[in-house]
Symmetry: C2
Subunit: 201 residues, 2 copies
DNA sequence: TTGATTTTAGAATGAACATTCTATTTGTTG
DNA sequence: CAACAAATAGAATGTTCATTCTAAAATCAA
């Protein structure tokens, strides 16, 4: 069924609030971004926001959901024939996402989301849901299409590289990406290597 | 020169505030932890805290400094003869630090510190200082003791594994560490492998 | 002990904030 | 167009908070 005019306007308004909130959250964090500032950015009155969201917490939850969904989307459509190909694509993706300036700002929001995740069960639930979705896709690819064992562990390890790289860039802003790419590709390849060297203790 | 009684008392008081602040920050985050709550936890009056810290921001900075220094300490005393040995020790360290419950709670604080790092130059400075210290130690070991090239990149890549693992555990609380250890060791070994496979595009 | 200094508590202050309330404008429908 | 409903603004409310102020208690020096 098509949306009525009123519904369309309502959705546009909600998106307007979310865009404004995302902007303020990136700049100030969840708890220093006031409703007044979000309202100003969204070009509506503070009181009016409450016609679309029950509370500021609800806005935070909606932002976490939207941002997680977007991140998951960017991950969703991998399609590789073998592990070498997947390693290359994943490396490219990891380095590319880092190279964009926007993603570095986005990182701050991501970190805040993860911090919130430890304290707020509702936020935790949202984040875990999206993470599970991404993992399921990737695990399916690794296990069923490429045919490797330990697919879950390999998936998690691949994802360690992504979040680790973002984290690293915050801690070391002088990071030299050029040499990093070589190592990242080698690492991805190693994670997807069919034979794991079981080192004896 | 030994500390006078007054100085000792003062230092103890400061530590008391920092312990209380750390506790409240882990539980509530920087901005929902009020001075009143920190004071209650530290068993002193809110006003009195201002004899030791100029502002709440100063307490946050002190906590970031103290926690970063502690994390750096835990990293400082590596001493390996070859890359295989280092890979094993680093893996053990990474998995061990994750296995402790305390570190998972600590992770929330770490994430919040990194988020703050993007917005507050003073915090950024503190975090980058400690990160540089750890990197210098590890790079020295890899380049001068073990004798590998691309030491800085390898160092950063090792550290990607640590922060990535902490990050991953927040997003996927069901992570299976048993299989992960195998992959982590293989990854560390691969990063420290003398010959890097330069994949052609 | 006495006077001076430091340490401490707790109330007072003023600002910022999330949320609610009231009224006005805008759009819709008969 | 008239009546109604939805959308919107902006002021009002009550709370929470960081910080400051005031004075009491503890410590120390003589």
């Amino acid at each position: 069924m098509p949306l009525t005019g009123a519904e369309k306007r309502r959705n546009a308004r909600i998106a307007q609030v979310l865009d404004a909130a995302a902007h303020c959250f990136v700049e100030l964090g969840f708890h220093r971004a006031s409703m007044a500032k979000i309202a100003a950015k969204a070009k509506m009155s503070p009181g009016h926001i409450y016609h679309y969201f029950e509370s500021k917490e609800a806005i935070i939850a909606a932002i976490v959901d939207r941002e997680s969904a977007r991140a998951a989307e960017r991950f969703a459509e991998f399609d590789a024939l073998d592990s070498t190909e997947l390693a290359a694509v994943m490396t490219e993706r990891a380095v590319l996402s880092i190279a964009e300036k926007t993603d570095i700002l986005q990182s701050a929001l991501n970190m805040e989301m993860l911090a919130e995740c430890q304290r707020n069960p509702e936020i935790a639930c949202i984040i875990h849901k999206h993470d599970r979705y991404v993992r399921d896709q990737l695990t399916h690819l690794i296990r069923d299409k490429i045919g490797l064992d330990l697919a879950e562990a390999r998936t998690d390890m691949m994802m360690v590289q992504f979040s680790g790289l973002a984290n690293r860039l915050l801690r070391n802003p002088d990071l030299d990406l050029t040499n990093m790419v070589v190592l990242m590709r080698q690492t991805m390849t190693s994670i997807l290597s069919p034979t794991l060297c079981q080192k004896a203790k």
